[in-house]
């Protein structure tokens, strides 16, 4: 049985990657990106979400003639505690010696509005949390006051649904983290595909490969395939890792197909750029700008690829989503066909 030369070349490229152990570096980078973005979100959320951190309760000093309404609003707000002061001076004293985190002075205005002067501590890590809680309280106050004034409104406001405890990271996980993890491998794969081609050309080792009984098309095919296959494998690894952490990802096969199609598209772009440019510098430069342009211009699609991935993973896919997956596969196959024709017509001596 004669083994396919393309498989041999793909295997050779993958072996060189594992020998250099650089693929480990690539995985580490992705892990770092994932860990860091999660850390960042968890950290930032704990800055403003009272439920996310232990010292969530915010004590608010309340004074002013309209403090009754304000006290009622604070009572209705989770994570906020009111401390009533008889005068502004004592309230600010409490603020300064740390008895309360913020001061709110409620006064009535001639146009029947309630005016609230809120004071938050400056330059403290808790400032964000305090301000978010103040806003929460004030929005409750606003809603209560609107309800009272409903008779003067043409349309009463829509009632606010009750608060439920939900993970503040849910949206982030599916719409940012997962697309990031799934699109990073194709991006790196394409970049490495550029290297795989230009290195052979610049080192002059493409001639050696040509001496072997293989076609240029086979060489390019093998190199492209090696890189394109890597991306879905990494994607699968991330999905498995996520599910270990209790994040269920739906439509895994379709996600892998999407990632595979994306990887095929960028790898074909990278390989073609490598062949056209013949040297790493311009090819890499154009590749990174080009992929950025591709990703940015994807906003003109009915659904951005990141949204497609998110919707598939969170199991909210629509017909548009499925159609787009098919389109990506079709584009990948079409681009591959074009690249193959270009490669076939290429004069090897000119490289």
């Amino acid at each position: 049985m004669v083994s396919d030369p393309r498989v041999a070349i793909a295997r050779r490229d993958l072996a060189s990657l594992s020998r250099e152990k650089t693929i480990v570096l690539a995985l580490l980078i992705q892990l770092f990106v994932a860990a860091f973005s999660s850390f960042l979100v968890v950290g930032l959320t704990s800055l403003y979400d009272p439920g996310a951190s232990a010292q969530g309760e915010v004590d608010i000093g309340v004074t002013g003639e309209a403090n009754e309404s304000l006290l009622r609003a604070i009572e209705d707000t989770e994570g906020a505690e009111a401390v009533q002061y008889r005068s502004n001076a004592t309230a600010f004293e409490g603020f300064q010696n740390g008895a309360v985190d913020a001061v709110m002075i409620a006064t009535r205005q001639p146009d029947s509005r309630i005016s609230v002067q809120a004071t938050a501590p400056e330059g403290s890590i808790r400032t964000t949390l305090v301000v978010v809680q103040l806003r929460e309280v004030l929005q409750t106050l606003e809603r209560q006051q609107r309800d009272i004034r409903a008779a003067f409104l043409d349309d009463p406001p829509v009632p606010l649904p009750g608060e439920v405890s939900a993970s503040p990271y849910f949206g982030f996980t599916y719409t940012i983290l997962l697309p990031l993890l799934l699109f990073l491998p194709p991006f790196i794969s394409g970049s490495v595909a550029v290297d795989a081609i230009t290195e052979e050309i610049e080192r002059g080792t493409l001639d050696l490969l040509r001496v072997a009984p293989v076609d240029l098309v086979d060489i390019v095919d093998g190199k492209a395939a090696a890189m394109a296959v890597l991306a879905p494998v990494q994607a699968l690894m991330w999905i498995v890792l996520l599910s270990f952490n209790g994040i269920t990802v739906s439509n895994v096969p379709l996600l892998l197909v999407t990632v595979g199609a994306m990887a095929a598209i960028v790898v074909v772009v990278g390989v073609t750029l490598g062949l056209v440019m013949g040297e790493r510098k311009s090819a890499q430069l154009l590749y990174s700008i080009g992929v950025l342009a591709l990703f940015a211009s994807a906003v003109f699609l009915p659904e951005h690829p990141a949204t497609t991935v998110a919707k598939l993973a969170v199991d909210s896919a629509t017909t548009t989503t499925y159609v787009l997956v098919v389109v990506y596969v079709a584009v990948a196959v079409g681009l591959y066909g074009l690249a193959r024709r270009y490669t076939r017509g290429l004069d090897v001596e000119s490289l």
Partner: protein, 626 residues
């Protein structure tokens, strides 16, 4: 370094370098950038959201929530008869909300809550009676807490009797709340002389009902950020309040970092292509020093980076370009650019193939962008943010003044680190390392050994490595920002100890590996002692430099990261000058003795030195009461 030769090499790099960027590349690249330029405003205006349609809601037309759900792109409207949990997350029938028992449904409910709020605010803006639609006006001010009681009465002018316009108007509300409010108004005026105090009379100013749309619009955010930082306040409806998060400035600051990633792509390629097929040999044998070559080849890219930064800085201030402000931004971006280039250069010297360089470039991009970007998020929170020069850009964009001390604190460490990168890279910019496939650890030793010639140079290298140590430790501290104190102090100490001990001994080991020192126990102790002294002196110089004009918070952090030399609770002054010196000399000597034998002995000795160092630091920190 000869400037004329350097400039000539720079000219070659631009004009006829083997990997010079040709016209075709520029055209195609410009077209691609144009596509990005077209797509970005479109994405910004049409509001492309990655989370569009992730929650499915079954809802009838009659429901009060129908418009809310329809107008929020996060929700997809489905048939209310659909299977709850399988096909939809929420089922809304008139006002009743049915949720599936999944985390997704809970997240959908939270999202619905915030969209109802946004929807109500949008609807209320259409109302004819605006004072009933927006019954609450807010002004938010920030005051520093000094923890001192006396300051309260004098500070911020709280005693000034402000206009008490609000007092009598409680009954004008014409509703049940009015009477209750009247009572409260009474008690309020009895006690406080100045009800509206607090120094900032922003309520009336912001309260003009007709400019609600302006406040709520895009300008609200920018003005808010600038206003807060200028020490003023934000005012408007409750929804207009936003936490002091410099989001807009951060996005703008990111613009400065983005082009660097493309520049290092080209720069890395150029550097690595010198190593292919012995291309760089011609320059190496030419009568120029390797610093001329490296400098000349780097200069065009550095110039490019600075030029782009200047263009961006000027474009950001377009209506009224202030050269000083542009200069500050450019000055702050320069160390970041040098750091990117230096790290890429070192990576290109170490990389064994193009593929490896790609991975190295991505690593450089990710880690340095993180370093530049993440501390800048905390711009408003504390001085620790200044470890990234990007913080200076953000502050500059916000129109804040930047002190000389802050400048130095922010710019010098990355600058010196970039110098270390270039210095190490230059150590292996020679035939033996460039054109052969030497293993990475051996190359690392070569790079270090190139700088080591005797005991004095050992001390110098240790001192030179200090900024690197310093940056690594500070990044470590920044990363430990969110960890609870009980855990973070020991972790921080471990990071500090490991980094410092390696910094003191790695080049000593490299020197021994290259037979730069005499063998034997006593010479090893001497070399180690010199390394320790170099570290001690360097640390003292840096500490002195940082103490000039720095906020106390940072100094505290420094003392915690260093060997706690400034802890005042140790009684004898000489004691805490000499103790760290003794520590560094002893630990460095231990590792040096290990290094003089072989690799295994070296590693064992370093671990012993780390243990001693950790014990010392831990004692000092616990005495110091951290």
């Amino acid at each position: 370094m000869n400037p004329r030769k350097l400039l000539r090499i720079a000219r070659w790099e631009v004009t006829k370098n083997a990997g010079g960027v040709d016209r075709r590349t520029i055209v195609v690249g410009a077209l691609a950038l144009l596509a990005v330029g077209i797509a970005t405003p479109y994405a910004a205006t049409s509001g492309v959201a990655v989370d569009s349609g992730i929650y499915r809601v079954g809802i009838t037309n009659e429901s009060a929530y129908y418009d809310v759900v329809r107008e929020d792109p996060t929700f997809a409207v489905r048939d209310p008869q659909a299977d709850l949990g399988e096909e939809i997350e929420l089922r809304i029938d008139r006002l009743a909300i049915d949720a599936a028992p999944t985390p997704k449904a809970a997240a959908a409910q939270t999202e619905l809550r915030s969209s109802v709020r946004a929807y109500n605010n949008r609807q209320m803006r259409q109302e004819s009676n605006q004072s009933a639609a927006f019954p609450v006006r807010v002004s938010l001010g920030y005051t520093e807490r000094t923890q001192v009681r006396e300051v309260i009465s004098t500070g911020d002018g709280q005693d000034q009797t402000a206009d008490d316009e609000g007092t009598g108007d409680g009954t004008d509300g014409g509703d049940g709340d009015g009477s209750g409010g009247g009572d409260e108004g009474g008690t309020g005026t009895d006690d406080g002389s100045g009800t509206d105090g607090n120094g900032n009379d922003g309520t009336a100013g912001g309260g003009g009902g007709e400019n609600i749309d302006d406040v709520a619009g895009g300008t609200g955010g920018v003005g808010g950020i600038a206003g807060q930082l200028a020490g003023g306040n934000t005012s408007g409806t409750p929804a207009d309040i936003s936490p002091p998060f410099p989001f807009q400035s951060l996005v703008l600051a990111f613009l400065f970092v983005l082009p660097l990633n493309f520049i290092i792509q080209a720069y890395g390629s150029t550097m690595v292509s010198e190593r292919l097929n012995r291309r760089g040999e011609l320059l190496l044998v030419a009568p120029v020093s390797r610093f001329d070559i490296i400098g000349g080849k780097t200069l065009p890219y550095l110039t490019g980076a600075i030029g782009i930064a200047a263009v961006i800085a000027a474009a950001l201030e377009l209506p009224a370009v202030d050269p000083v402000s542009v200069g500050i931004s450019v000055l702050a971006v320069t160390p970041i650019a040098l750091l990117f280039l230096g790290a890429t250069f070192l990576g290109a010297m170490f990389a064994r193939s193009f593929k490896e360089l790609t991975f190295v470039t991505v690593t450089v991009t990710v880690s340095l962008t993180t370093y530049a970007f993440v501390p800048a998020i905390f711009t408003d929170v504390g001085a620790v943010a200044l470890i990234s020069p990007l913080t200076i850009v953000v502050r500059n964009l916000q129109g804040q003044a930047i002190g000389l001390g802050e400048f130095a604190f922010s710019l010098v460490p990355p600058l010196l680190t970039a110098g270390v990168f270039f210095g190490l890279g230059a150590g292996i910019y020679r035939e033996e390392d460039m054109f052969t496939q030497r293993s990475i650890p051996l190359k690392a030793l070569d790079a270090l050994a190139a700088r080591v010639h005797g005991k004095w140079s050992v001390a110098a290298v240790t001192a030179i490595l200090l900024p690197f140590v310093f940056v690594t430790e500070l990044v470590g501290v920044a990363a430990l920002f969110a960890i609870p104190d009980a855990l973070s102090i020991p972790t921080m100490l471990v990071v500090v100890v490991v980094v410092e001990e390696f910094a003191k001994s790695l080049h000593v080991y490299a020197g021994y590996a290259h037979d730069r020192f005499e063998a034997g126990l006593w010479p090893a102790v001497v070399v180690g002692a010199f390394s320790g002294i170099g570290f001690f002196l360097g640390e003292k110089i840096m500490l002195l430099a940082q103490l000039v004009g720095l906020p106390s918070e940072v100094v505290e952090g420094l003392i915690a990261t260093g060997t706690a030399t400034g802890v005042p609770s140790i009684p004898i002054a000489i004691g805490f000058l000499l103790a760290p010196l003794a520590l560094h000399v002893v630990t460095a000597a231990i590792s040096a003795v290990g290094a003089s034998r072989n690799r295994r002995a070296y590693l064992a000795a370093v671990v012993v030195a780390m243990a001693i160092h950790f014990a010392y630091n831990y004692t000092v920190v616990s005495i110091g009461g951290f």
